[in-house]
Symmetry: C2
Subunit: 327 residues, 2 copies
């Protein structure tokens, strides 16, 4: 069966790292069909829309989407795209790799971020000249759906025993209280172990001792900020892939942005996008190939050639070719 | 003129670190009068209230308040106490000290956290069996007041040239947009330099290179989480003081909690509370004495005796006595 993959490069280094990941995918000789779509600042400048309806539809209809990055229009592209694929969870692994300078080389975390609500609900109002409000939304149904996914995630793997639930229910008593109760309730029923950590305490403790955490289940904004914190601990955003998973569809993207300072030079680190492609493979059932890509990436990170952000002097093509070589 | 200081030990190690800080303050022979108030888990167990009205009034009427920590009831104590002193800004320095093991020894930051609104507004509703909402509130007036304080703060000091404004206005467009516009608007008028950083990007970059930041102005929850992150970078919560400043009043507290694992043993690190007392002195106009306390603390951190959390084997009394000795 042919899998149709929507490919959206977007802006900046998106146009360099996505082709690198496609090169890796193509070298595996699988039954994948790639269909290009446009989104981002450049498209907006041309057409007035950062995410044209046809790109939205392309992502909604494809078996999976690989997205690069968007500039100023990032939120106008990525939030609707997450909606296009009906994503309820954003998986963000943050792992330090041998060969990469990391503040905390012991870091090996997976964030499971709620992907539909919280402060991302989109309900804001200007109530007066002085006052604006945002309605933060938390539902038991979304919390339980995330929890069920988290339980499957730890049960399907030999590496994980349970998960941490991060929240700020001491202040957001009803909303994060509902989140916590929903998540912990499902885990208890399923017999999956959990512990609770306040969002602020997590920020301290993950710096002091990242090994005390493993799988981390969070509300939307907490997942955004704390996974970016973990990116800092493992040596930067150039390494972190992510998967936005829906029931019948999914979207894969590097956690980094468009890197305008180096865009166009062909020197961007393709790791995060190639690892996102590995997550895509796993999602489509190609788990053996996914593992091969990850292993090849790890070996190139450890031995080179590496891009400049990793202290090497390879360009994107050379690093990508080395990864393809080791597949 | 006698300054009246409300002293609220609270629970756990609050009952050990507050007496340590009072010992330091008393050794300076200033015209300070200390009046004790009760708050926290133990008081709640006794009286049903974590913060009795008379303690609230004591803090509201005193020239300044020194607070230790509260356990389960932390939010029920600290949020109303911030209100009692009409605090609009929470000052949280996060500085790595020679002699203390730090993930990032270059860290030297000051967070100026908005202290009244954001998700701390307290408006939450259960709208159905499935759905709760929280109304996040941002006003131009609070944002501008914080900004004016931040401008004074950098202008009054030789160490700071401007400040960073942290927000998530790409998602919270109206509320954090209002915050950003209010803060940047005042700074522009005052000729104070600012740069803007998204909250998630700040979390990454402060780990990778804390020296690129100095004074950091944030909404309430961002300040909570990012200052705790900085605590992780400088070696833990045992070091971080804070000041909740109002127009005519103020409240000083260590950033750490009650540390139930070591409470009652007399081995808690008094640094955060003694540095909070130094901030209190500065606030009351005793800036020379404040500086002396800070210098004495720094010298003891560097040379010992140090408490167990810092790798030493001194108890709270020994470390405090050493600080008093060096005043
Ligand atoms: C661009 C922005 C809207 C987005 C988010 O906040 O989710 C980004 O930070 C991310 O984490 O993918
Ligand atoms: C205890 C809690 C309500 C409080 C906060 O969130 O402000 C604490 O984390 C702090 O930072 O002082």
């Amino acid at each position: 069966m042919t899998h149709q993959i929507a490919v959206i490069e977007g802006d900046g280094i998106g146009q360099e790292v996505i082709p690198a990941a496609i090169e890796v995918l193509e070298s595996l000789d699988l039954d994948l069909e790639f269909v290009d779509g446009e989104a981002g600042d450049a498209v907006k400048a041309d057409t007035g829309e950062a995410l044209p309806q046809e790109t939205y539809d392309l992502a909604a209809d494809a078996d999976a989407t690989l997205f690069g990055a968007a500039g100023e229009t990032a939120a106008d592209v990525i939030l609707p795209l997450r909606d296009a694929v009906d994503s309820f969870v954003n998986i963000r692994p943050a792992k330090a790799y041998p060969g990469v300078d990391a503040v905390r080389p012991e870091t090996d975390l997976v964030f499971l971020r709620e992907n539909t609500e919280g402060v991302y609900s989109g309900h804001e109002d200007d109530l007066s000249d002085d006052l604006s409000t945002l309605t933060r939304v938390v539902t038991t149904s979304a919390s339980e759906k995330l929890a069920a996914f988290a339980c499957d995630y730890v049960e399907d793997s030999d590496d994980h025993d349970g998960f941490s639930v991060v929240h700020k229910a001491n202040v957001m008593r009803k909303t994060d209280g509902r989140f916590r109760d929903g998540v912990v309730g499902v885990a208890d029923e399923r017999g999956v172990e959990t512990d609770e950590v306040l969002m602020d305490a997590f920020a301290t403790h993950v710096c002091l001792d990242p090994e005390q955490f493993d799988v981390v289940v969070c509300p939307n904004l907490a997942g955004d900020v704390l996974s970016d914190l973990a990116a800092g601990l493992v040596g930067g955003l150039g390494l972190l892939p992510s998967a936005n998973i829906g029931d019948d569809n999914a979207l894969f993207e590097p956690v980094h942005g468009t890197a305008p300072d180096i865009a166009g030079e062909g020197i961007a680190n393709p790791t995060a996008t190639i690892l996102s492609a590995a997550m895509l493979l796993d999602h489509l059932g190609y788990s053996e190939e996914s593992q091969r890509v990850e292993t090849a990436v790890e070996s190139v990170l450890a031995e080179g050639p590496r891009t400049g952000d990793l202290g090497g002097n390879a360009d994107t093509d050379e690093m990508t070719a080395a990864i393809v070589d080791r597949l």
